[in-house]
């Protein structure tokens, strides 16, 4: 690792003040599971200063004030997995956090780091966008809240200014009649990076008709977003395999309209459609666990 200056900060106030001084010469160290790998690369420009925010106690924890869930940015993936609040009000996020990396990565990696690193395979982002999350970005002179879906420019690039840090993530609780799911497809079961993923949320009325649907694919589009083109197909209808298949095909079409046909499209085209269908089936209880699938063609 090449030399750099190291500054440990112990409060948000101190962090934004040091950031104001260094701006784009600084990199923020949170969980370190991405940054340390980058710092060790030979062909990457080493930052002048690494600002270690991992000691900031006020940036840890999960609260649930007034119908919302609030995650502080340094909350680790393990803390999210073990949180009763997240399990109860945003179970798709529990699912996503539980399949990130390994136990060791989940113990260190933070939700804020997962967002700000902005890798297309970031597993917490599709559920958070489906949940309608808003994030708070703070600098020495300003504090602003934006929709998480408005943060990203392209892979590994966000609209956050160099002097800003992400402090909290907030989203409305899902009520108990709303069902959600997250499916990730990696090259193996453990320690895998998402090749594709899907976060889905479905609300049905008393008669079983779908009244609200949210579908956010991961690692499929250059920038994450809800695929409303597929969501509207579901509204007012009752769940069926045909309906969910159609929604999956629509997501696949939308993906290709964004990315064009590439070397991986032959694979991703049918797979994202199937993952969307399965994610929706999991929401309505037709599919409990992917491991129960006997025939993977299904």
């Amino acid at each position: 690792m090449k030399p750099f200056e190291y500054r440990a900060v112990h409060s948000v106030e101190e962090a934004v003040s040091v950031l104001a001084e260094y701006g784009s010469d600084a990199r923020i160290l949170a969980g370190g599971t991405d940054l340390l790998i980058e710092l060790r690369k030979q062909n990457v420009k080493t930052p002048k200063v690494v600002i270690d925010i991992s000691f900031i106690k006020e940036l840890r924890g999960i609260e649930s004030p007034n119908g919302t869930v609030m995650l502080q940015s340094l909350t680790t993936h393990s803390e999210i997995v073990n949180s009763k609040v997240v399990q109860q009000y945003a179970s798709l996020l529990t699912g996503a956090a539980s399949v990130i990396g390994s136990p060791q990565i989940r113990n260190k990696g933070t939700v804020g780091g997962n967002i700000m690193n902005a890798a297309t395979c970031a597993d917490t982002v599709p559920p958070l966008i489906a949940l309608g999350a808003k994030i708070t970005l703070k600098s020495k002179t300003n504090s602003r809240q934006i929709d998480l879906s408005d943060l990203f420019i392209k892979p590994y690039q966000t609209k956050a200014k160099p002097e800003e840090i992400l402090t909290e993530i907030q989203f409305p609780k899902l009520s108990s009649n709303v069902k959600s799911s997250f499916i990730k497809l990696g090259r193996r079961n453990a320690l895998s990076i998402s090749r594709l993923s899907v976060a889905a949320i479905l609300t049905q009325d008393k008669n079983g008709k779908i009244t609200d649907a949210r579908i956010v694919p991961g690692a499929a589009l250059p920038v994450w977003r809800r695929v409303t083109e597929a969501e509207i197909l579901l509204i007012g209808k009752k769940p069926s395999k045909e309906l969910f298949t159609a929604a999956g095909q629509k997501v696949s079409e939308v993906m290709i309209s964004h990315t064009g046909r590439r070397w991986s499209t032959e694979y991703k085209e049918p797979v994202i459609a199937t993952l969307v269908r399965r994610a929706l089936e999991m929401c309505v209880g037709d599919l409990k666990d992917l491991k129960d699938l006997k025939d993977l063609k299904d």
Binding site: L36, S78, Q104, I105, K108
Partner: protein, 153 residues
């Protein structure tokens, strides 16, 4: 580049040291303290050979900068034995032939220790999840899982 002073406890021994910040915990343990039980494998957090406990949590020491352990406690495989007696997990690994080439063993032991400290009665699925971040290229997983199960009994 200036050094950073840290106060830490490693294997129950207190240290107050000036460290170079561009050092990983893994290299610090191995090169500075001579604690070579922690193995250096992939150095990108994929293999788990460098697993140590940081305040009781299993972490990849290759993904921790050494100044980050200031005020925290580290346990490495060297800290498992007490008064010259091996830890029950170490005994069980030997009894079950859970050590082939041995390279993954320290990391496996630390992941298993982290699990048992939190959950003294895990089922097989929980055991397999706990060691899912530790690769064994001799593929001796069955014996490793058996060894951990034996300590649970």
């Amino acid at each position: 580049m200036s050094t950073v002073t840290i106060n830490t406890k490693i294997n129950n021994r207190k240290y107050s040291l000036a460290v170079a910040p561009n050092t990983t915990l893994l290299h610090f343990l191995r090169e500075e303290l001579g604690l070579t039980g922690t193995k250096c494998g992939c150095e990108i957090g994929e293999c788990g050979a460098c697993t140590v406990l940081l305040n009781g949590e299993a972490v990849n020491s290759c993904l921790v900068l050494v100044p980050q352990i200031d005020g925290k406690e580290i346990l490495t495989v060297e800290g498992l034995a007490k008064d010259g007696k091996l830890h029950p997990l170490q005994e069980s690994f030997m009894d079950h032939d859970a050590v082939h080439c041995g390279f993954c063993t320290p990391g496996m032991l630390m992941s298993a220790k982290a699990l048992l400290d939190k959950n003294p009665d895990p089922d097989e699925k929980e055991i397999r999840t706990a060691i899912s971040g530790n690769l064994c290229r001799c593929t001796g997983y069955v014996q490793i899982v058996d060894a951990i199960k034996e300590v649970v009994k």
